[in-house]
């Protein structure tokens, strides 16, 4: 065991772990973060993705002691209480089925849009290709990303509230 220092979602943590421990287990088991989840442990599915200095990183294969930069997890996207436009688009498009993989989908999309705010359909498919979904929500995910690209922020709406009004009338 040794002390590993991590900068996560604008806070610094010191954790006493075996330095080879994959970042995923430190985030989940030592720091109580639930966004990144275990899917494969071999960097193939994307369920565990976090963003390190703007890059989508598979936390299941990166030793915690090797991570130097600023880590953002799913929780960090809405740390100030406001959903990131990507998260809002996920709600607007009702993207998930089970939702288990969507940490990776959202974080991959976030990293893509941060470096390329106006991706083509082909660029979306390419950037997202390594994030697997076994409920097959791919079409909805791509629709949500296009929504962010086309209507940033402005069109966030509360469908349920609108329907409630309609029902009440």
């Amino acid at each position: 065991m040794s002390i590993v220092t991590l900068h996560i979602n604008d806070a610094t943590h010191e954790v006493d772990v075996d330095p080879s421990t994959p970042l995923l287990y430190v985030l989940r088991n030592d720091l109580g973060l639930r966004g990144p989840r275990f899917g494969c442990g071999i960097g193939q599915c994307g369920t565990c993705i976090v963003i390190v200095d703007g890059v989508a990183v598979r936390s299941c294969v990166v030793p915690a002691s090797r991570v130097r930069g600023q880590i953002t997890t799913l929780e960090g996207l809405s740390a100030d209480g406001t959903l990131d436009p990507v998260q809002q688009a996920w709600i607007d498009e009702q993207v998930p089925q089970c939702g288990y993989c969507h940490n990776g989908q959202i974080m991959t999309a976030k990293a893509l849009l941060d470096r390329n705010p106006d991706p083509t359909d082909a660029e979306i498919r390419e950037a997202m290709d390594g994030a697997l979904c076994r409920c097959m929500t791919y079409y909805r995910i791509q629709a949500a990303i296009k929504r962010v690209v086309q209507q940033p922020m402005a069109d966030a709406r509360d469908t349920n509230a609108a329907i409630a009004e309609e029902v009440a009338e």
Binding site: V17, D18, Y25, N29, D30, L31, G32, L33, R34, G35, R37, F38, G39, C40, G41, I42, Q44, C45, T47, L74, E75, L77, S78, L83, Q87, W90, I91, Q94, P96, Q97, C98, G99, Y100, C101, H102, N103, I106, D121, I124, R125, E126, M128, D129, L132, C133, R134, C135, M136, Y138, Y139, R140, I141, Q142, T159, N160, I163, A164, E166, V167, A168
Partner: protein, 803 residues
């Protein structure tokens, strides 16, 4: 942070809303509904009791008797703040059924959707409706929910009538408030009538499905919340990271376990060198029973390392457990069946074939396909206080409770399952291996144990959809009418595992605990609506040499036999249409009009659905293929075609059209456009339904294009996302159109019923893709999946230029 127990918001909120100032203890004891067995954020950990001062320890530690479905209080609690919590015995695999349940119950209770919450699948506090399966959530299990909510409304109206001393007929209800019609000042809320108190109303019904009170449900035209595309309540917490999943629960003192599986199927443990891991940090114990081996450590990464490092001597089985996957279909055709069905004969097929103008014969092959859930199996079990609590995403949590109780020889009421969200289910968690393993290990160690399967373990050892070989034969008369049809199916489905049975889950098999006889399994027949007078249907089941402890154990995978059977059957219907030189839509519509089967107006609804799909696609009438294979030379690299397939599942009907591009040079198939017309009767949530239909289609597209469990003669070799490819973002269609059809002859009737939708769209898609590939290339693919190398080989064999 790691020793804070975490519960999902929905459960916490449901518990919070019961006002502690009311007589909770009496409420719980007398209602029969143990609505609270611990208070929010405080649950008994190992050897400890909840800190909450108002908690009743006797209730917290169990036993956990079955909630009585015949008590209204079991289903609905009205809180002092005029909100309500619904308790239902279902689970939601991500299709939004929880939202739909709330919508249905809100309508019957007359309460606003956002004033309600829902708790599902918790064996100690929700009535046993069996959990999920068979697309029956809305079709079957929604009915008792609607009826009990209607009953609650009736009781509330009677209470108000008594209060105001007016007849019930004079009262009007809106948003959980009852008003005397002519005197708006006279009003009372549900909370004022029963908030925080019991209804104390007995219900009737010889089983949970038949539960009802005195009230009737509302006619369809009075439903206001049903029919709205309300957003799912579970999605926000899934996108902001706040949801607590079954994988997230932490208990003080919990341990982490990893299984060590036989490296070769059927291998037997001959020795374990515990010293190989004893010195590892955090090592707690190696547990072995028969061929079940697990290591338990203090921390997760320690358990992962110990499982890799543990030296186990495995004895190779004397006989190969199964043929290699490349030889599977040869094996299946030759194998002596374990079951042969009596032939089902309609009319005189022999005479009809003899008189036929044309006879078409074709065989189809479907390999084993797996669930390969994105998150491998997992569960946490807590043995505190002589009870067993399992935190699990088991879709059939009640069966898990029953199975574990039997497995551990514990009284059933000392075991409970707390259902929580998890990775996709689709039948996988109907045999919740990890739940049993966690309970067993927790029982052995006397501490909470979390079990997490690895990717390799899940892909290799999860339950499989059965492999199939089909032979179909059809006779056409000179006018292109189908006069005779023979269907023969052979399924590798012997010893199909059941639902959380204590002698068929994997740990039981590896321990040598088994039923006297393996399950017979089944080979399915098509959902036949077409008017074909002379038919012969035969089925048989075969087994592989290794019956127990095999990674090729079959179980229910989304519409367990539908995709396989419908691939063969609807491909063959297309082959007949092509032989008759008739447009595939026209061909199907002709046979549907000749059908004499019309349960739930299935004939009219089927015709409406096929027409709706064709209309939405913009189908132009012509026979397939557009170009015969031999003439497909040179020219464009991408060949485009369209194909249709139609089916029904129980009362729900779907027709799917796929438009594909086939890359002549690489063999890659892209389903560029999908259209699905779908009739499931009354639609509770159109948006949620569309998403379920869409994802059901794409799940089948993955099975069509990529999925196959491959194995050599010793082990499964498809073990991760490289060796077991799945659909990806790059395979996603460019457009998907879904048409919701109500083909009922009286579409506005007041008793229109909702039918299941979880599986129907999954069923015909594979055949639609196969038919589209044929339309594009003139080449018929009769073996799944349509991976590029197989497509390319088929194109070459058929003489299509691939350069």
């Amino acid at each position: 942070m790691s020793d804070i127990l975490e519960l999902p918001k929905a459960i916490e909120e449901g518990l919070h809303r019961i006002n502690p100032s009311t007589s909770r203890r009496n409420f719980l004891k007398s209602s029969g509904a143990l609505v609270i067995s611990f208070s929010a954020g405080a649950i008994p950990g190992p050897g400890t009791l909840a800190a909450a001062s108002d908690a009743d320890p006797a209730l917290m530690v169990g036993p956990y008797p079955d909630p009585d479905y015949r008590q209204l209080d079991t289903w609905i609690v009205i809180h002092p703040d005029n909100t309500a919590t619904f308790f239902v015995g279902k689970t939601d695999g991500g299709q939004g059924t929880g939202t739909a349940f709330r919508q249905m119950m809100c309508d019957e209770l007359d309460i606003a959707y956002d004033k309600t919450s829902l708790i599902m699948g918790r064996t100690d506090i929700t009535p046993d409706q069996g959990g999920s399966g068979g697309s029956d959530a809305i079709e079957r299990d929604g009915w008792p929910m609607r009826r009990v909510a209607a009953e609650a409304r009736r009781v509330l109206l009677e209470l108000a009538a008594e209060d105001f001393a007016v007849p019930v007929e004079r009262l009007v209800v809106s948003n959980a408030t009852i008003t005397v019609g002519s005197e708006p000042a006279m009003s009372v809320t549900y909370a004022e009538l029963v908030g925080g108190k019991r209804f104390d109303i007995s219900l009737n019904g010889e089983n949970v499905d038949a539960t009802r009170g005195l009230a009737n449900v509302k006619p369809v035209n009075q439903l206001r919340v049903v029919g709205q595309s309300l957003q799912r309540y579970d999605i926000p917490a899934k996108v902001d990271g706040s949801l607590i999943w079954a994988v997230d629960v932490k208990l003080p003192g919990m341990l982490h376990a990893r299984n060590v599986r036989p490296p070769l199927a059927g291998a037997v443990v001959s020795g374990i060198d515990e010293a190989s891991v004893a010195d590892l940090p955090g090592f707690v114990r190696v547990v072995r029973r028969g061929n079940y081996v697990a290591v338990v450590c203090e921390r997760e990464e320690q358990a992962i390392r110990a499982a890799r490092q543990l030296r186990v001597d495995w004895e190779r089985p004397a006989d190969p457990p199964f043929p290699a996957s490349d030889e599977l279909f040869v094996y299946m055709r030759r194998a002596t069946p374990t079951t042969i069905s009596e032939p089902d004969i309609q009319g005189d097929p022999s005479a009809a074939f003899a008189a036929a103008d044309q006879v078409v014969v074709a065989e189809y092959e479907v390999p084993f396909q797996g669930h390969t859930a994105i998150g491998p199996a997992h569960a946490l079990a807590d043995p505190s206080d002589g009870q067993m609590t399992i935190y699990s995403n088991d879709m059939k949590s009640y069966r898990l409770r029953n199975g574990v109780a039997e497995f551990l020889d514990m009284p059933r009421d000392q075991v409970r399952v707390v259902y929580m969200d998890g990775p996709q289910v689709y039948g996988r968690t109907a045999a919740d291996d990890a739940g049993f393993e966690a309970a067993f290990l927790a029982h052995e160690l006397g501490r909470p144990v979390r079990v997490q399967w690895t990717r390799e373990e899940e892909t290799a050892w999860d339950t499989k959809g059965p492999a199939y070989v089909f032979k179909l034969r059809g006779g056409l008369d000179a006018g292109g009418k189908v006069t005779a049809l023979e269907y023969d199916a052979c399924a590798a489905d012997f010893n199909h595992v059941g639902y959380n049975e204590p002698d068929t889950v994997l740990i039981a098999q590896l321990m040598g605990r088994r039923p006297e006889t393996p399950a017979a399994g089944s080979a399915a027949t098509p959902s036949l609506m077409y008017g074909i007078s002379n038919r012969r249907t035969t089925t048989r089941v075969v087994g592989l040499p290794l019956v127990w402890e095999t990674p090729l154990r079959t179980g229910n995978l989304r519409d367990p036999n539908g995709p396989q059977v419908t691939f063969a059957f609807e491909s063959f219907i297309d082959e007949l249409a092509a032989a008759a030189h008739i447009d595939p839509v026209v061909f199907r519509l002709d046979m549907l009009s000749n059908s004499d089967e019309d349960d739930v107006f299935r004939r009219a609804r089927s015709i409406a659905v096929v027409k709706a799909a064709a209309g939405a696609y913009g189908w132009n009438t012509r026979p397939s293929p557009q170009t015969p294979a031999a003439q497909t030379h040179g020219g464009q690299k991408l060949l485009t075609g369209r194909g249709i397939a139609y089916t029904y599942r129980n009362r729900t009907i779907a027709a799917t059209i796929a438009e594909v591009e086939v890359d002549r040079q690489t063999g890659r198939v892209w389903a560029k456009r999908l259209v699905c017309a779908h009739d499931c009767g009354l639609v509770v949530n159109p948006g949620g339904l569309r998403n379920t239909i869409e994802c059901g289609m794409l799940h089948a597209l993955s099975r069509a294009l990529w999925e196959e469990v491959r194995f050599d003669t010793e082990k499964v070799t498809s073990v991760n996302w490289q060796s077991h490819p799945t659909l990806r973002h790059s395979d996603t269609p460019e457009s998907i159109d879904i048409v919701l059809v109500n083909g009922d002859p009286s579409p506005d009737r007041s008793d229109l019923a909702p039918y299941g939708a979880g599986e129907t769209s999954h069923k015909p898609l594979i055949a639609a893709v196969a038919n589209a590939i044929h339309d594009a290339t003139g080449v018929r693919l009769r073996r799944l999946p349509f991976r590029p190398e197989r497509v390319l080989a088929a194109l070459r064999t058929a003489g299509v230029s691939t350069s």
